[in-house]
């Protein structure tokens, strides 16, 4: 049973990365090159232009000038969105007051997990598990978990309440919405319970991750912590399979689509990709595309005038 628990842990971590990889691969494979579909403001235009939503296309003969991209602008833009949920704050404040603590709680638990992982790696390389550094890290983690789990529970319950009581949201909420939020709330409650009952949540987490990394399948000492972890394993695999996968896809939806404004004259790679995509066969059935039904590529379609009568 103990070994199975650890196997589930390995599977959850591997599963998360596999699912994330598949999601990203599917996105990348969907097209060699999609059309530009940018939406302004685009933060990499630089602070001055981004402030009002301007673009390089405001410049005369822009194609003759070197392309300037403010990577810092993009980083700032995505960080503002991810860390503060800026768009929700601006456009849906009633939801923001609920979803922001929920997200912050998740960030804290995710960040806490990474810190514990680092501490365990340091321990494997000789850091004294009873030493001052580890005690400091332990205190930080115990505080982070308390606040993070509380935030998840409060935010999660708030989101469920909002979905149930807001007429507009209720119509668009499916059983899965409530299930997902419910699982998070239970996950947070179990974390809080484990925190309250055990002498140190950090010790439980550190020991588990240490055992996981060193293949030491020792039994768990806290049932509540084990249940908390089991739910965590499930969430790791479940998140990429649901609309919560925006955790992974948001990067592409912002950087590649909303801010993806690279003109073709600056990209040799894109020039080739257009030629590649135009060779795809088209099977749309409407008469103005399919014509007489002979197989055709996008090049054939684009160079055909459907109003011209065929000459014999």
């Amino acid at each position: 049973m103990t070994i199975l628990f650890y196997i589930l842990g390995y599977l959850a971590v591997a599963g998360f990365f596999c699912m994330a990889y598949l999601k990203i691969r599917s996105y990348m494979a969907a097209s060699p090159l999609h059309v530009r579909w940018e939406l302004y403001p685009v933060p990499h235009e630089g602070a001055q232009k981004a402030a009002y939503g301007g673009s390089f296309m405001e410049e005369k003969d822009w194609w003759t000038k070197p392309r300037h991209i403010s990577h810092w602008g993009d980083i700032k833009g995505i960080l503002t969105e991810v860390l503060f949920l800026h768009a929700t704050f601006e456009h849906n404040l009633k939801l923001w007051v609920r979803t922001y603590p929920f997200h912050v709680g998740m960030y804290m638990l995710m960040g806490g997990t990474i810190i514990v992982l680092c501490a365990v790696i340091a321990q494997i390389f000789g850091l004294n598990p009873q030493g001052g550094v580890m005690i400091f890290v332990g205190n930080v983690i115990n505080a982070v978990v308390l606040v993070g789990a509380l935030c998840i529970v409060i935010g999660g319950i708030g989101l469920i309440e909002r979905r149930r009581n807001d007429e507009g949201l209720r119509r668009y909420s499916t059983p899965e919405h409530y299930f997902n939020l419910g699982v998070f709330v239970v996950f947070g409650v179990l974390g809080l319970a484990a925190w309250a009952v055990a002498p140190s949540y950090f010790e439980l987490a550190r020991t588990f991750i240490y055992n996981l990394l060193t293949f030491n399948f020792a039994p768990q000492t806290s049932t509540l912590f084990s249940l908390h972890l089991l739910l965590g394993f499930f969430l790791l695999i479940w998140i990429p399979m649901t609309n919560m996968g925006h955790l992974i896809m948001k990067y592409f939806m912002y950087h590649d689509i909303r801010w993806g404004d690279e003109p073709t004259n600056y990209s040799e790679k894109n020039k080739q990709k257009i030629l590649e995509a135009l060779k795809f066969n088209v099977t749309w059935s409407a008469k103005h595309i399919s014509g007489d039904g002979t197989p055709r590529t996008w090049v054939d379609v684009a160079t055909t005038n459907p109003t011209e009568k065929k000459e014999d």
């Binding site: 235009e45 390089f56 668009y172 689509i257 103005h288 459907p306």
Partner: protein, 533 residues
Amino acid sequence: MKDNLRLTDVSTVDGQMVSIDLKEIPELAVDMHTMPWKPFTEEQKENTACILDEVCVLNIPKPKNREEEEELVNKFLDGVRKLFSKENNWTFLPMLETSMDNCVQCNSCSDACHLYEMSGENEMYRPNFRSEIFRRIYKQYVKKEPLAKWRYGDMNLNWKTVARLGELAYRCNLCRRCAQTCPIGVDNGLMAREIRKVFSQELGIYPRELHERGTMNHMKAGSSTGMTPEVVKENVEFIDEDYTEITGVGIHTPFDVQGADIMLLHNAGEIMAWPENIASFSLIFQEAGLSWTLSSKALAYDGVNYGVFYDDAQTARIALQHMMAAKELGVKKIVIGECGHAHKALTVIADRVIPFEYQVPRESCYVTLRDIVMSGRLKLDPSRNDFPVTLHDPCNVVRLMGIVEPQREILRKIAPQFREMPCHGVDNYCCGGGSGFAIMTRNNIEQWRGNISGRKKMWQISEAFKDCLGPETRKYICAPCSNCKGQIREILEHNDLYTKNNFAYGGLVELIVNAMTNVNPGFIEFEGAGEEE
């Protein structure tokens, strides 16, 4: 119906599903009354699937029997499958898939939509309403995901669902203001356009104004207006003559000048409806000493590309011909006239559709005009424009291309009383005629534009001029986009706002010409009874 409407109603309700109560429509500071909906005829009810609301854009024939019902559903599903294939939809598939999979149904987009607001917050107009129906169909019937009904919600798929979804795709101006507010990056405007594509590209169902009279006419006659090359040259010659007399400056519009620096690409609708716009461009370019030309090649004297509203094949065909004409003339760049969707189609969309070797650089006329005005090549007297002026931002140029400041730099220089509308720049609202509606005229579409889609724009305009509403003060609505102008003209005419409020509307170039000192004064005409200059 509003309070009780559920997503699944699209498949269950018999007859008209939604009724927009005109009493629910918000009132404005300007006198803009609502227009009563005309009831559908008995013949329409019998033969056409006008079963969504009071409007009917697609006129889908009502299936006569079970076989026809199934045929409609199966063809639709075939189209959806193709929509999600790389080969058939490489242009948009990544955006479509991410919008299908990552929406958390938070409804943050609702308040951003002018249609939702101005319909009295009718449920059907939530940007997510149609997307969610489409999403459920896709997950349940195309992708066939396990537990799809539980996970995404059930959606019965029958001919009524298909017909209503098609119509729903045409209850959106594709302005993408909703997408701008989405915290995740989901694009409900894109979803509406993709649904339009399924109907056009697979089922051969489209609004006749966009297809038969639009793109097909464009490819057949040379212009969506039906004007042939000979007629265009003749008309422009007349315009030159007329406006030489009006302005007192000799105007000559050049055609087919090989090796000119610029090929100017007008929306040909301007030639017929707003000749002053054509003349203004010619006058400005001529007086600025530019090397430029129009093309008289079929398709290339009309910058419109209605394909961007509903069909990728038509988009590519027209964009290619625009590029080819410029290549043949050997120009250094194409300058796109005052037409928003022509800007986006040729500059942004065509950029990754037309092979680079066939591309010619494209520039917005706002940028070219800014360069002319700010360089001092024209002698301008801003006091000739000393009346309140506000600026409409065409979505395609501003939110979707980030061209925001050039037109403002011009206005700040030539219009002393320029004032912004609320929610301007990239936060603007659609004029109400976006995505093809400005040229559609039947089955209550005009009423829809006046009652719902154009209402928010009139709110913006009335707010911008709130200190000078009424007939006493002349006011100019600068709308540098042909379709937007058409929409604004209709609202002004229908509500008699020319006289009641002394509004004039027009483009940016007309305002520039109005300020040119070598032009006879009073180029812009106000029909109202306001004070004299």
